[in-house]
Amino acid sequence: MKDLLRPVTLAAAPLGGLLSLAGAILLWSLARGSGGAGWTWAGLFLALIGLALVAGSLFLTARARERALAVQLASVEHESAQLAGHAHDLEVARRESDVVLNSVRGHLMLIDPSFFIQSRYSNELEEVFHQKENGNENLLNVFQRLLSDRMFKTARDYLGLLFDDSKKERTVLKVNPLDEIEVDVSTPGGPPTLKHLHFDFRRIVEGGVISRVLVTVEDVTERTTLERQLRDSENQKVRQFELLIGILHVEPRGLDGFVQLANGELARVDEALKASDFTSATVGQTALLRQRLDLVLQRVHNIKGNAQLLRLEHFEIKAQEFEQKVIDLKYRGALGGDDFLALVIALADFRSDLDNLQTLRVKLAGIQRAVEIREEVGDDLMTDLRALTATIAKKLGKEVRIDSHGFDSRSLPPEQRFIVKDVLIQLTRNSLAHGIETPAERLAAKKPTEASIDIHPAADTEPGTFAFTFRDDGRGLDAERIKKRALEVGLLAPERANDVEDSEIASFIFARGFSTADQSSMESGRGMGMNVIKERVVDEGGGEITVNSEIGSFCEFSFVLPLGATFLAAAR
């Protein structure tokens, strides 16, 4: 600005000087024109005064101008400095607001009473809403795109409350329905994208009225995801803890056995379930699939029995649920890939719990070793079996005693011990559910109210075998009822109904899926128990089963189990 003013001052100075010089020359020429030497000197003197005056006037003019100019300049400079200061302040303010808008965690916008978004908003807002141009758009339109119908209506009502003077801001802010909300920001044709947004609102009151509302939007998807993960891991911890509490009463050896058995059974379940079978399941193949499901059912049933024996309630319930899933599928008309998936998920879930059990068992064994020195207290299989019997008997309102004189499974090799264990579990459960009567029924039949289960080693056993007998004094096998059921399920052809041998009738109870119970429960009715026994003893163990029964009086199962080459070698 200084540079602009200077040429003007320089142009003004010679003009004043020229006028003064013209005055001096006029005076000098007047003095010469009046004649004589005296006049000449006087004229010269006057001319000199004139010149001096011109110079003085020139000097004075220059000084005055300079002063005025300096004042003017100062004022201009002051003004321009002020302007520059303002500009600077504005620039700073703008930068600050940019910094605030672009770096705060939330993104800001102002809305007017008609909910229009005012032009100033932060860059990332577009990104947050997955939408270009938020300026001059109505926030309701944004909400309509993002929210469900119900939430949109609520959000609209809520914006109304924010601008409603009669409602206290504190109360209105407390019921903010958008403080955390899941929104669908998918673009048409794009991948489904869900975000969690946090909206915050503040009223801006100008002149006593709510002129605008400041809206902060924050994308909290990451935080929400982390929170969810944390919650999941908390739940997992709780589950582990419950599992731990549930196994505290069980001998580490018993747990090992259970984990080993359950893993083996699950491996067989895995084998039986083939994804391709399910995905290509046509009507014709469904029958084949049902057979597979029966196999799965049998395995899971065995796990359930063992869990029950050890009172591992968690696994008992888990196996029961798994069983139910399989049964539901078994009776469904068509089977498909999704059904298969449901089973695979259940299987994976079961496995993961087993892994947890194994981990806990290792930890627990360490603790137990540290705090106590154990004594051998007889066959723990019998202890467990008695506990199982007591639990089921109580549930069914029956009175049962187990006698097991001379029976000891401790000397058996692990493989055979598992078989014996499975067999005894299934037989005990069957006896309690089907064979043994209620105390009232027993009284009516002139029997002692307390039933007895007798488990004893067979008197004369061949070397290299393990033989034992299981006998209950219940109602015995009802040949007519078994026959009726065998006809119903197609095990027995109607034309043979009259001339079927008793021994064949007894064999029906070992058929897969055979059960005379009308309703399935935790104790009975899956029709899997006896089939499991046959598979374990005959098919896997290479042994024999003999059935002996008298209706109304007893039922007896005798087993001969070869001990296998490993054991014999060890014994020699």
Binding site: T154, D157, K168, R170, T171, K174, V175
Partner: protein, 117 residues
Amino acid sequence: MKLLVVDDSDLIRRAIQRTLEKPNDEIQTAVNGVDALRVVERFDPEIVTMDISMPQMDGLTCLEGILKMRPKARILVISALKDKPTAVEAVKRGAHGFLLKPFTAEALSFEIEDLTA
């Protein structure tokens, strides 16, 4: 001060009563919306605390009913509801304050003071 406490839980009713009752106060209680309107007919409460989810009559209907009969009553909605739309609706229909369950005695006292201020 005349107070009405509406809540279907006996435990909550007594807790609120214990927290709010001061010497000269008159407190009445109601177990559901219908009951509350019956009480309001003969009793002119200055302050009403009410649960928004109750059997027989929903809290929102009850809220409107009370305000129709006693427009000067100040209503504090107390709710465990995660259902945000209902909370917004309550304020829209005239609730003066909102308190989320579970709450502390201090929080309740503060809300009541805020209501009467």
